[in-house]
C-alpha cells in the first residue's frame, strides 16, 4: 500500500514548518513522508482491539513541583541565547498581528 504525497500537501506542510524547500528537496521530502505513512500503515495491520491507547512512553504519573520560587534573576545568561538584545529584551523581526 504505497502512499503518495501531493504537491499541495508538501507545500502546506512546508508553510506550517516555515521551511522553504527547493524542488529537489520537495521531491525528497515527498518520498520520505510517503515512506513514513507506509510504515504507519504497516503498524495499522496489527489488531489493537481492547488495547488501551498509550498516553506516555514511561509508566510514570504525577510528577509535580511545589509552588515555591527556586529561580532568581538570571537575565544576563538568558539573554546570551537571544539573537539580539535591547533594553533587557530579546530582539526579533518586527511582528505585528
Amino acid at each position: 500500500m504505497a502512499n503518495v504525497i501531493s504537491d499541495e500537501t508538501i507545500e502546506y506542510v512546508g508553510v506550517l514548518a516555515k521551511l522553504e524547500l527547493s524542488p529537489q528537496e520537495k521531491e525528497a521530502a515527498k518520498k520520505d513522508m510517503a515512506d513514513m505513512l507506509d510504515y504507519i500503515d504497516k503498524l495499522n495491520e496489527l489488531d489493537t482491539t481492547g488495547v488501551e491507547p498509550m498516553s506516555h512512553v514511561f509508566p510514570v504519573e504525577n510528577v509535580f513541583r511545589e509552588d515555591v520560587v527556586t529561580n532568581g534573576d538570571d537575565r544576563e545568561n538568558i539573554l546570551k541565547n537571544a539573537p539580539g538584545e535591547k533594553d533587557g529584551m530579546f530582539v526579533v523581526p518586527k511582528t505585528v498581528e
Binding site: S55, V57, N62, E66, V68, V91, V92, P93, K94, T95
Partner: protein, 478 residues
C-alpha cells in the same frame, strides 16, 4: 412586510491567570512588574533540552474552580502541544490540553432581568501564558519580555448558551466571584488576569442551526464587552439582511473607535497539529485528592449572604455589596470578629470605603487598611476619643496608607478633649463672643444653637464631641 427576527448566540472563552507564586512548569516567579526577562529560565524561554515539571498548585486551583462550576473532573488527564510560530511563544508550541482537559460538562447559574439561567461549561483546561511583545519605536524590530511566558492559565470554555450582553456580563461576574472566593486569581479584566474572547453568531429566531460565528478578542472591560456584542450583532444582522454571508474569522475590538476589524480569517486558519507532550507525565487524580479539594472549598457568595442575614442583622443591600467582593467580605468578617459591631463595620465599608474606592479608582481587592485598624477606629469613635468628622479624616489616611488610627490620632493631636473643664471654658468664650446667636436661641430660635456648636468645634479644631458641646451649651444658656 415584517422584518425577520434574529437571535444572537454567544459562547465565551475565558482565560484566567492563576495566583500561583511560580510559573506552571518552572520555579520562576510570577510576580507582576519585574524588569523585562528577570523572571525567566531555560524552561520558560524554550531552550532545547530544558524540561518542564508541573506546579501542583495549578492542578489544585483548576480542580477547585471545576468543582465550584459543577464540572466533572477528568481523573486521568494530560498535556498536549499546540504548535504555532510566534515570537511571544519561544518553544514554538504552547503546552495546553486538548484531548483530556482537567474539567468537563459543568454549569453556573446566573441571574439577569430575564430571571435565573444556567450557563453550560464545555470544559476547563490548563495552559501556559505567552511572553509580551513590544514594538520598538525607533527600529524595525519587536522586543520580547518572557516574564509572562509560562504563567499558569485556565481557559474556561462555555457552551453557546448566552443570548445578550447582560447574560455575558452576569456570567463573567459569576466566574469572577467564584474564582476570587477560591483565591485562585484576582480576575482583573483591565490588567489582563481575566480575559474574555467572545464567539458570536446570529440566526433567525426559532431556527435550530447555528449561524457562522466570529471570535472577538481584546475586550478588557465590561463596557467594551457590551459594546462589542452590540456592534457585532448589528454587523452580522446587516450582512444577513443583505443576503450576504458571515465569514468565520477572528476580529479585534477597538474600543476607542467602537468597531472591530478582521485579524485572520478561517482560510489561513492555523493548523495547530496538537500532540501529547512527551516531557510531561500524565496526571491521575484519586479520590483522596478530590476529597481534599472539596473539603477546602470556601463558603461561596450565596451561602455567605444567607449566613450574614442570619448572623449580623445588616440590611440586604449592604450584604449584596459586601459579598460582591471576597476582599470586602473578609474585611467585614475579620473586623466584626474583633469589635463585635457588624452594623458599624458595614457603615464604614458602605460609606467611606466605597466613596474613597470610587474617588481613587481602587478595586476592592487592592484595599490596604487592615481589619485591626478599622476596629481601632470604631473603638476610638465609641470612646468619644474622636468626633465623627475627625474619624472620617483618620479613615481617609488609613485607607490610603493603612496608618494605625490610635497612633495617628495621638501623633497629630486629634484626640477629642474629654476634659470637660477645658471644653466648658471654650463654650463660655463662644457664648460671650456671639451675643446675637445667644439672643436668638433664648428668643426661641432652636436652630441658633447649631451655629454655636459649630463655632465651638472650630475653636476646638474639631477635637470635641459635638454631643457634649451641645449639652454644655444648653446647660449654660438655660
Amino acid at each position: 412586510m415584517m422584518g425577520k427576527q434574529y437571535e444572537t448566540v454567544i459562547g465565551l472563552e475565558v482565560h484566567v491567570e492563576l495566583a500561583t507564586k511560580t510559573k506552571i512548569f518552572c520555579g520562576c516567579s510570577t510576580a507582576f512588574g519585574g524588569e523585562p526577562n528577570t523572571h525567566t529560565c531555560p524552561v520558560c524561554t524554550g531552550m532545547p533540552g530544558s524540561l518542564p515539571v508541573l506546579n501542583k498548585q495549578v492542578l489544585d486551583y483548576a480542580i477547585a474552580v471545576g468543582l465550584a462550576a459543577n464540572c466533572e473532573i477528568t481523573r486521568y488527564c494530560k498535556f498536549d502541544r499546540k504548535n504555532y510560530f510566534y515570537p511571544d511563544n519561544p518553544q514554538n508550541y504552547q503546552i495546553s490540553q486538548l484531548y483530556l482537559p482537567i474539567c468537563r460538562n459543568g454549569w453556573v447559574e446566573v441571574e439577569t432581568s430575564g430571571g435565573k439561567k444556567k450557563i453550560g461549561i464545555h470544559e476547563i483546561h490548563m495552559e501556559e501564558d505567552a511572553g509580551k511583545l513590544i514594538h520598538d519605536d525607533w527600529e524595525d524590530v519587536s522586543l520580547v519580555d518572557y516574564n509572562r511566558s509560562g504563567v499558569p492559565l485556565i481557559e474556561i470554555v462555555s457552551r453557546p448558551d448566552m443570548r445578550n450582553a447582560e447574560e455575558v456580563i452576569a456570567y463573567l461576574e459569576k466566574l469572577r466571584l467564584i474564582i476570587q472566593y477560591l483565591g485562585a486569581s484576582d480576575c482583573k479584566l483591565q490588567e489582563g488576569s481575566m480575559r474574555a474572547d467572545i464567539n458570536l453568531s446570529v440566526r433567525e429566531a426559532g431556527t435550530e442551526k447555528l449561524g457562522t460565528r466570529t471570535e472577538m478578542k481584546n475586550l478588557n472591560s465590561f463596557r467594551a464587552i457590551a459594546r462589542a456584542i452590540q456592534g457585532e450583532t448589528e454587523r452580522q444582522t446587516e450582512l444577513l439582511e443583505a443576503g450576504k454571508e458571515v465569514v468565520q474569522e477572528t476580529r479585534r475590538w477597538d474600543d476607542a473607535k467602537e468597531c472591530s476589524y478582521a485579524m485572520r480569517s478561517k482560510e489561513d486558519a492555523q493548523d495547530y497539529r496538537y500532540f501529547p507532550d512527551p516531557d510531561l507525565t500524565p496526571v491521575r487524580i484519586d479520590d483522596a485528592w478530590l476529597e481534599r479539594i472539596k473539603a477546602a472549598q470556601p463558603e461561596f457568595r450565596t451561602e455567605k449572604m444567607a449566613r450574614y442575614r442570619e448572623e449580623f442583622g445588616i440590611p440586604d443591600y449592604d450584604i449584596e455589596i459586601i459579598t460582591n467582593s471576597k476582599r470586602m467580605a473578609d474585611l467585614f468578617e475579620e473586623t466584626t470578629a474583633i469589635c463585635g459591631q457588624p452594623k458599624k463595620v458595614s457603615n464604614w465599608l458602605m460609606g467611606e470605603t466605597l466613596r474613597l474606592m470610587k474617588e481613587t479608582e481602587t478595586d476592592a481587592e487592592d484595599i490596604r487598611f487592615s481589619p485591626e485598624n478599622l476596629a481601632k477606629l470604631i473603638a476610638l469613635v465609641d470612646e468619644k476619643a474622636v468626633s465623627t468628622n475627625v474619624a472620617k479624616e483618620v479613615f481617609e489616611k488609613m485607607f490610603l496608607e493603612n496608618v494605625d488610627p490610635r497612633a495617628y490620632v495621638e501623633e497629630n493631636g486629634l484626640k477629642a478633649v474629654s476634659d470637660e473643664g477645658a471644653l466648658r471654658k471654650t463654650v463660655e468664650e463662644v457664648i460671650a463672643a456671639n451675643p446675637r446667636s445667644v439672643e436668638d436661641y433664648r428668643g426661641g430660635k432652636e436652630k441658633a444653637i447649631g451655629f454655636l456648636v459649630g463655632q465651638t468645634m472650630k475653636a476646638m479644631q474639631g477635637k470635641a464631641d459635638p454631643g457634649t458641646v451641645n449639652r454644655l451649651l444648653k446647660e449654660l444658656l438655660s
